[in-house]
């Protein structure tokens, strides 16, 4: 062994140590950043939660202030999910089992492109194109079907309703949901599919027997991810919805429960003092809600990974 070799070894060891430390610290850095997000939101939101906070007449107490917004956030996201899930499953099936390979690849690109369109553009489109387009239908629904509680109340004159917000959100979460479901469907063991077809099953029966049971956890987790996305979506809702701070189940009126995120975006630039802290505190609440939803989604996915024989 020469001293040269020793030097190289020392250098290698130092390099290894430095590099592995660096990588490790980056990993820890992620944890630190997340903790910092929660910590700073808490720190800045705290003044609003202490007694004696002055909300300059905009709120009586933090809880009654945020309640309608929590409702609006959850309600709009659930509407979006109810619309998006059957569509996403349909699109995923179409691409994975109905369209031919070349065509489905092109379609895959196009749908990915939908995912990349900035939300503010969706918002502009929603308020200027979609809302006026849908409004005649709303008027018709409220004239003819207003015995259904969801369609009751004075119909909006502009189409800027909860249902429109739900539809815009559905269009926005559709790409990620259908992409994820498509991936899961494509992983269906070929043997199962071919066995079903060999037994004389129609395509639908094959899908019912082989694809859907295999893909069910994938559908559920994609719903959770879509929900997480819809809960936190800001600008599209801020632009589209005609907001009010009330709890309202009606879909077609001008009085819609606003969402937490949209409310922050609308009020924050002109807020000050304890009211600003209150908005930050509602942001912390949104963070916790989406975190819980995402955790459930990950839990479902990880269970599936353990169960399936794919890997």
């Amino acid at each position: 062994m020469t001293s040269m070799g020793d030097k190289a070894k020392v250098k290698a060891r130092v390099g290894d140590i430095v590099f592995s430390r660096l990588a490790r610290f980056s990993g820890i850095g992620i944890l630190v950043i997340l903790a910092a997000v929660a910590f700073f939101l808490f720190l800045q939101g705290l003044p609003a939660l202490l007694p004696g906070a002055d909300f300059v007449g905009k709120a009586d107490n933090p809880l009654s202030y945020v309640a309608p917004y929590i409702f609006g956030t959850v309600y709009s996201s659930i509407i979006a999910l109810l619309i998006a899930t059957p569509l996403a499953v349909g699109i995923a099936l179409y691409i994975s089992h109905f369209a031919d390979r070349r065509f489905s690849q092109v379609i895959g690109y196009i749908i990915d492109l939908l995912a990349a369109i900035p939300s503010v553009v969706f918002g502009l489109w929603g308020i200027l194109i979609l809302a006026p387009f849908l409004n005649p239908t709303y008027v018709w629904l409220s004239e003819n079907l207003n015995w259904i509680p969801l369609f009751e109340g004075q119909v909006s004159a502009t189409g800027r309703t909860m249902l429109t917000a739900g539809i815009v959100l559905a269009i926005m979460v559709l790409p990620i949901m259908s992409a994820l479901i498509r991936e899961v469907f494509l992983q269906t063991p070929r043997l199962h599919e071919e066995a079903a077809l060999a037994l004389g099953a129609t395509r639908w029966e094959m899908i019912k027997m082989a694809v859907l049971p295999f893909g069910r956890p994938g559908i559920i987790s994609s719903m959770m991810l879509g929900l997480g996305r819809a809960l936190g979506e800001t600008m599209a809702v801020a632009l589209v919805l005609s907001p009010a701070s009330i709890v309202n189940f009606a879909l077609l009126t001008s009085q819609n429960s606003n969402t937490i995120a949209a409310n922050i975006a609308l009020d924050f630039p002109e807020a000050g003092g304890d009211y600003r802290s209150l908005l930050i505190a509602t942001g912390l609440m949104l963070f916790l809600i989406t975190m819980i939803v995402n955790m459930i989604a990950r839990y479902v996915i990880s269970r599936r990974a353990a169960f399936s024989g794919a890997n």
Partner: protein, 386 residues
Amino acid sequence: MDKLVKLSALAITGALVLSGCAAANEEPEEETTTDSSSSDSSTDSSTDEAEEAPALEGTLDGSGASSMASGQEAWVAGFQAENPGVTVNYNPTGSGTGRDQFEQGLTFFTGSDSALKQEELDTPHPNCDPVDGPMFEFPIWISPIAIMFNLDGIDSLNMTPDTVAQIFTGEINNWSDPAITADNPGVDLPDLAITAVHRSDESGTTGNFTDTMAKAAPDTWLLNGENAGDFESWPAEWGGEGGQGTSGVVAAIEAGNGTIGYADASRVGDFGTVAFGVGDEFVPYSAEAAAKIVDVSPTVDGRPDTMLTYDLDRATQESGTYPVVLISYLQGCMDYSDDEQAELVKAYARYMLSAEGQQFASDNAGNAPISNELREKALAIIDQVQ
């Protein structure tokens, strides 16, 4: 990795090259303003003052009401064009935040939809000398609020204050309601639901509109059986459609048929407007009719001479006066601890008050220029600022 480094280096250089050049409409004067904003030049230049009006230099920060944002945009543009060495930043944060920022010493003037309260006057203001010294306050921005509607073929409707109040509180919800038809003989009003549009965000426009209603229609402006008073955030109990900001309200009125809403008169466009019942006549909105409200209203008693605070007489019976008006005040110190800032505030306030400045803003933002009488009183106050 090397490729990646090269790629990102390329991207960064690209960005830097781009950043090297100023916008085509922000030519070199920009450079000088940023350089000269340091305060140590003030001692030298103050000696030159006697010889000839020195070119003003520096940065003046203000904030406050967003209702006068479009006026401030015009004033800033006009003032900066006359004084290339000056940069004025008016941040439309909302009146409340604006007053807070002034109290914290972050800004040197405030535009506010409401007058300073006594406790706000008593708080120390770090930029004043002394910190609890006197302050000035006078109306700088008078803007008629038009009540506009979207009905095919109808340009103007007469409405008493009570009718307007009942429409916005949801008591009257059809255009063919007798309360409306009675004041509009000969107008063919459709049997159509009324959608009343209000501001969903907190705003001075709502504050002034509701103040008018509470005073001009005290018996019909009811919330839970009592006079609802004035407020800046619309209560959910009355229903109606919400629009974010002036643009949101205008967009909502435009999108629907049978909509009615209140917004800054500059945005009337092709909408029909309400002639507001004052005394025995109906007064359509106009800049002159709006400016008149200040002249017929008394100033608040017990305020210092340097504060022209008006108690607007919204229920006035005076002929030709349009009482649905938003007024905003300009607020600042009578004596600034920083003399250079004092000079900037004075010059800027003089520009805003001048007939030329008011007209320039009016051309761009559609507000009502202040009367000569008010201008003289305000200029007399500004002359004392040091």
